[in-house]
Amino acid sequence: MTSLWGYPFVHHAIEVGVITAVVAGAAGYFVTARNMGFAVHGLAEMGFTGAAGAVLAGIAPEVGLLAACLLAALAIGLLGVRLRERDVAIGTVLAFGLGLGVLFLVLYTRYATEAFSILFGAILAVDAQDVVRSAIVGALVLAALLLVYRPLRFASIDPEVAEARGIPVRLMSVVFLVILALAVAEAVQVVGVLLIVTLLITPAGAARRLTAHPGRAILYSMLIAAGVTVGGIAGAVYTSWPVSFFVATLSLLAYLAARLAARPART
């Protein structure tokens, strides 16, 4: 069984998995700070539609996934300019996307396997080309987050004062949705559409229990995400159970552990 570690597909899986987890962990800080869990789900499900449409059209599903996530991000960003409208906008876009996805499934009868891997992830099927693409998209996301870090954090946490200081708060939220779309498209490869929150929310949720220091919270979030991803791949390699199952389980355990070890209440 250990000999499996020698296979390139395991190396590729770990490479893509770690890149993706680091990206998801970093974006997760802002997802939790902005209460955008629902948006993550909405983007991922639109990604499913894009992937399904791409397969139907004979294009690589990854391309469709990325394009649909980006389009959905722009749609949500432009429709839901105000916070209280956002859930309605996301819900509407999401339901429309899933409706299309169902249509694509029916039209393309040989779709079942593809659909399964998009819904639940197919990290063990990635190849060298996927590693390169993940690295490029991941580097883009991290560079973008680094570039907008301070104004994005300001606008996310303290929008009134941020606006008074001249930060374009609405533009920031569209910018973050686009960054998020890229991160979601990455994470779908590992855990699939339906388990997306396990990488984009749970690690950040665990990290915020451990520290109030923003930089450390982001670092812990990335480390937890990477840890559960590598652990999940290892679990799958040893047992042949699905990676997503292990990632989701380890993610839950990490969250529970962080709650138990929660930072001491202030004195």
Binding site: Y29, A33, L146, L147, V148, Y149, R150, P151, R153, F154, I157, D158, E160, V161, A162, E163, A164, R165, G166, I167, A207, R208, R209, T211, A212, H213, P214, R216, A217, R263, A265, R266
Partner: protein
């Protein structure tokens, strides 16, 4: 009415006039030293008139308290000066220039909002955002930033809990951090939107004293929106009352009288003084009373 050279008394206009004239007596010749100047300024939001023909000169170093019912445009006045809302008519000047977004000379203390207790953000991070939160990227000189943040934390007496998660601090503690966040940019104009809301009496006094001290020591101008004038009475040079259709501005002792307030509200109002506190009976002055006489909406 005749203008005087005393900036504090200059805008007196409230006598028995139902509606003030559209021109500030002190603006015949523009005063370069004014911190804020409004000339016949009118504001409408979504088609609704908020205030009309507001003319007012606020001198540098002045502490102006703004009161009025809900929907009278107190917060909107601050947003105009921040360059976030345009006037429909008239002119507004901040330090002699048109209001612009992100003016570093302005410090802003917003209405209090609850932070998620789990939010990974410390008090010092909130303060630091006031210094460089609008800049791109990440801080490349965290040491220098830390020194400045520590300095301002000492000034407001918030050093002791600056490393605690912001969402777990009390309202009074959060408000001291808010003041530090506004002061760290060394503003010459401080805009405060209900900074005393939901604070206990002690914290209210602390907040007012911190802001008044900054104003005195730096000759900084303060515009202080509040629904309760009592905690700021000692610090206030003048009070601006916005009631929707009418407005008036004067020294506190002349403003807070039965005659003046009744004429501005257009309703019989009684002002009762007890020691150094003032109670206004018959109307909701501030606008956080559930039985509000004010117009609906914010």
């Amino acid at each position: 009415m005749k203008g005087t050279h005393d900036p504090i008394a200059a805008d007196r206009r409230t006598g028995g006039a139902v509606r003030p004239v559209a021109r500030d007596v002190s603006t015949g010749t523009p005063r370069s030293g004014a911190a804020v100047q409004l000339d016949g300024a009118s504001l409408a939001i979504a088609g609704r008139q908020i205030w009309t023909d507001l003319s007012l000169t606020i001198a540098r170093g002045e502490f102006l308290v703004v009161i009025g019912p809900n929907g009278a445009g107190k917060t909107s006045l601050l947003r105009v000066l921040l360059g976030l809302v345009p006037l429909v008519r008239g002119r507004a000047l901040v330090h002699g220039e048109a209001p612009r977004r992100g003016n570093p000379a302005i410090g802003y203390i917003p209405q209090q909002r609850a932070f998620d207790p789990e939010l990974p953000l410390r008090g010092r991070d909130l303060v630091g955002m006031g210094l460089d939160g609008h800049r791109w990227g990440i801080s490349l000189r965290p040491g220098a930033q830390r020194t400045r943040v520590d300095g301002i934390l000492d000034l407001v007496g918030a050093r002791g809990y600056a490393d605690a998660p912001i969402g777990r601090l009390s309202g009074g503690e959060q408000q001291r951090l808010r003041i530090a966040q506004a002061l760290i940019g060394d503003p010459s104009l401080l805009l405060c939107d209900e900074p005393l809301l939901s604070l206990d009496l002690h914290s209210q006094a602390v907040v007012v004293e911190l802001i008044a001290r900054w104003s005195r020591e730096r000759n900084a101008t303060v515009i202080f929106v509040t629904h309760d004038v009592n905690p700021v009475l000692r610090a206030a040079h003048r009070i601006l009352l916005l009631t929707g259709t009418r407005w008036g501005v004067d020294r506190p002792d002349r403003m807070l009288t039965t005659e003046t307030l009744s004429s501005l509200y257009g309703l019989p109002v009684d002002v009762v003084r007890y020691r150094d506190r003032v109670a206004v009976l018959g109307i909701d002055v501030g606008g956080h009373d559930p039985v509000s006489h004010a117009e609906p909406g914010s």
